[in-house]
Amino acid sequence: MATSKNSGDKAKSEAKQADKAGASSAAEASFGDNIRAADVAGSMVVKAGGVGIAALGVSVVLGMGQNDSFRHFSLSYLTAYMWALSIGLGSLFWVILQNLVGAKWSVALRRVGELLTATIPVLGVLALPIVVPIFLGHDVIYIWADHAKVELDEALVHKASYLNPSFFLIRFVIYFGFWTLVGRYYLGQSLSQDKSGGESIPLRMQRVAGPAMILFALTLTFCAFDLLMSLDPHWFSTIFGVYYFASCVLAINSTLVLVSMWLQGRGRLKNSITVEHFHDLGKMMFAFTVFWAYIGFSQFMLIWYANLPEETIWFKERFAGEWGNVSWALLICHFIVPFFGMISRHVKRSRKGLAFWACWVLAVIYLDMYWLVMPNLKTEEFPIGLMDLTCLIGMAGMLIAALAFAAKNVNLVPVKDPRLPRSLAFENI
């Protein structure tokens, strides 16, 4: 007991000393960089928000034109929504992770990640078209929302204690409440450090990161079950949450690349974010491209090998007809092509190369979401249309507006983080 207390105290005092030294050097590092988004963010809120709302409005009109009581619209909307949510949840994961491991390389990028978590409350509101029908007991997206239809299905009756509207609403509130809370906590702590330079703040953020990461893993897993897997409530796969998680990590690394490059294009962060940071983001994109394939195949292979009808039905729907081509496209475009495309160090260190692959990765994440959601529409002809595009533009617009709104009046770099000088001078070996 005594020794552990001693060593703990010692570590604390050492950390304090390191904080002090770091803080002074950070203060010394006069910031020769434009780190306020101010006007560009202000105009972006209006532009992106306007485009987003208009695109979503057009989607609703197109959805009415389908004459299927919004079934097609709802699934298109859900596809785009899960794509957008992967960016929001990815940013939360990324911020928790950087704090958990005490990462130094990423400090210069961290504020952008923290600002991206501000999209989560907006995503909570954007979920209303999905949540409200469940609350009203309509089976427009999820068959288990309709009590009368559940009664007719023996398997669903047994799952009803989990898959029912009221319990779903409780979970939904918990998910978004927790994510919003954690996102606000990290952004708030980080911003308060900008003002006070509080030396204990990084340590506090690190302590919170452990439990936050565990709860994040649980909420993300169950959210993926609820919003995506329960589209076909007979089917189940315990790895499904991890599969969606892979998309989240890919999404945030690609988004960080694109947002950082966009800011640099507007004269912001030109000296803070270097090719070394981009190189690392590229490595993460490459690594999680492989991770996605690994998880996707792990899910597929066990089901393929066991060959049980209740499990294979999900793949059967996706391997038949036109959907078979989409499955092949997913394998080729989500794994094989980006694997060889991003494997080279030179590509990851080239701005144009990395920007291209960041766009590519975000596009194939959408393809993946489309592949997960749309087969449930069960239409004769392949259901791709203009509405899918307007939903996607709408979601992207709302995300950008939320990010720009959060970024309007703050520093884009945590200027008083004691680890910042090390991040600015960071070099890959």
């Binding site: 690994y294 195949f297 597929f300 292979m301 393929w304 090998y305 060959n307 494997i343 080279s344 160090r345 001078a425 960071f426 070099e427 070996i429």
Partner: protein, 405 residues
């Protein structure tokens, strides 16, 4: 090897200069010094640090390594090997049905493809790194410098070798002096450490290498030679399976028989045979006077019947069905003469007899199926359809015979 012999081989006199060693107290000083040495155009020099120093590659002007390409090649080789291995073993050389999957089944092969890709890549990364760095290096003149031990602790070193074409005892010293090292020292060639590997180590490696080839040699020999002794069988699971075999005793059942009888009324799939007309030639209790609808009344059936009749019936009944086949003729001969004289012989019927002409086709079918008098049953040898075809050919023979009379 004698001590005298060793000392004889060694050159005498002071050891020649190996190089100049500069020692620095911080990595930044080392990076600055390395930049200067790089710009001076030296080629045989190196830096030594206790930890990876950021930017030292650039400062030293180290070019991109070829290792990534080697690793990519090795990874693809591993991938190809995995595919080839699994195709060869399970689809080509020894096809083995597993879980009802195809013999060559890519999804099942992916884990091995992944593993071998990683294995080949990792081994090449490690081996390539060692080889490209000139490792393992059994000894180096720096090993004799006591100060140099701090390269693993808190000091940063830069060594320019005397063998560098640009090396000049005075100028190079001046250059290094200008980088303000904490210590600048000469390194002499190592004469204490033998320049050859110890013999014991070399012999040991040779023996181990030879021993490593033995299992492969044995496997190759076993593959291409024959043997009377049973194979070495490490995993016995397939030989001693915990199960009962037919005709063995099993105390679990009252009758102590491991082999169980079928449950009463058990019918194998496709063997119900509940069509009386087709399978027994009967409609109700009566023999059928018509052919079953499954048998086409056409020339092909008659031709088939003729062929089957030729195979199964002519030995006794003869080609025209008159009861004078080869067997019948021989039996008649034996019964009347020679060794078989006096034995009883019931001659086969002439199918053209009036009572046989009037028999329903169903009864003829029944006679072929189950036999009649001395004629054995042919139901087991001839398929149902072929028996009906024979009946049809029989009718054709009878009709022809009647027309001829």
């Amino acid at each position: 090897m004698s001590h005298a012999h060793e000392t004889q081989k060694k050159p005498t006199g002071p050891a020649p200069l190996h190089g100049l060693l500069a020692e620095y107290e911080s990595p930044w000083e080392l990076v600055d010094a390395a930049t200067k040495v790089r710009d001076a155009g030296f080629s045989r020099w190196d830096t030594y640090t206790p930890f990876p120093v950021h930017g030292i590659d650039k400062a030293m002007g180290i070019r991109m390594t070829i290792l990534p390409w080697l690793v990519l090649g090795a990874g693809l080789t591993g991938l190809a090997s995995a595919i080839l291995l699994q195709w060869w073993t399970n689809a080509y050389d020894y096809p083995l049905l597993i879980s009802g999957k195809p013999f060559w089944s890519i999804p099942a092969n992916v884990p091995i493809m992944f593993e071998l890709t990683v294995l080949f890549s990792v081994l090449t990364t490690l081996g390539g790194m060692l080889v490209l760095n000139g490792l393992p290096l059994p000894s180096h003149p720096l090993d004799l410098k006591e100060r140099f031990a701090r390269a693993t602790d808190d000091r940063f070193f830069l060594l320019i070798e005397a063998s560098d074409p640009k090396f000049d005892a005075k100028d190079t010293r001046a250059l290094l002096d200008s980088t303000k090292p904490a210590v600048l020292d000469e390194v002499l060639e190592d004469r204490a450490t033998p320049s050859e590997f110890p013999k014991a180590l070399v012999y040991g490696m040779v023996i181990l290498t030879a021993a490593a080839a033995v299992p492969f040699a044995l496997a190759a020999k076993a593959r291409f030679s024959k043997s009377r002794s049973p194979r070495v069988h490490l995993i016995q699971d397939m030989d001693s399976q915990p199960k009962y075999k037919a005709q063995r005793e099993n105390p679990f059942f009252a009758d102590m028989r491991a082999q169980r009888e079928q449950v009463d009324g058990t019918v194998a799939v496709g063997e119900l045979r509940d069509d009386d007309h087709l399978f027994r030639g009967k409609i109700g209790p009566e023999y059928a006077r018509t052919f079953p609808p499954q048998i086409p009344l056409d020339e092909a059936t008659v031709a088939r019947g003729q062929q089957r009749f030729g195979i199964y019936c002519t030995p006794c009944h003869g080609f025209a069905g008159e009861g004078n086949g080869m067997v019948a003729q021989r039996a008649e001969l034996l019964a009347s003469t020679g060794a078989g004289k006096g034995m009883a012989w019931v001659p086969p019927s002439n199918i053209n007899q009036a009572y046989l002409r009037q028999q329903p086709v169903g009864q003829l079918f029944d006679s072929i199926t189950n036999g009649v008098r001395n004629m054995p049953a042919y139901g087991a040898q001839i398929s149902t359809e072929d028996r009906w075809a024979i009946v049809m050919y029989l009718r054709a023979l009878q009709t022809k015979s009647a027309a001829g009379h």
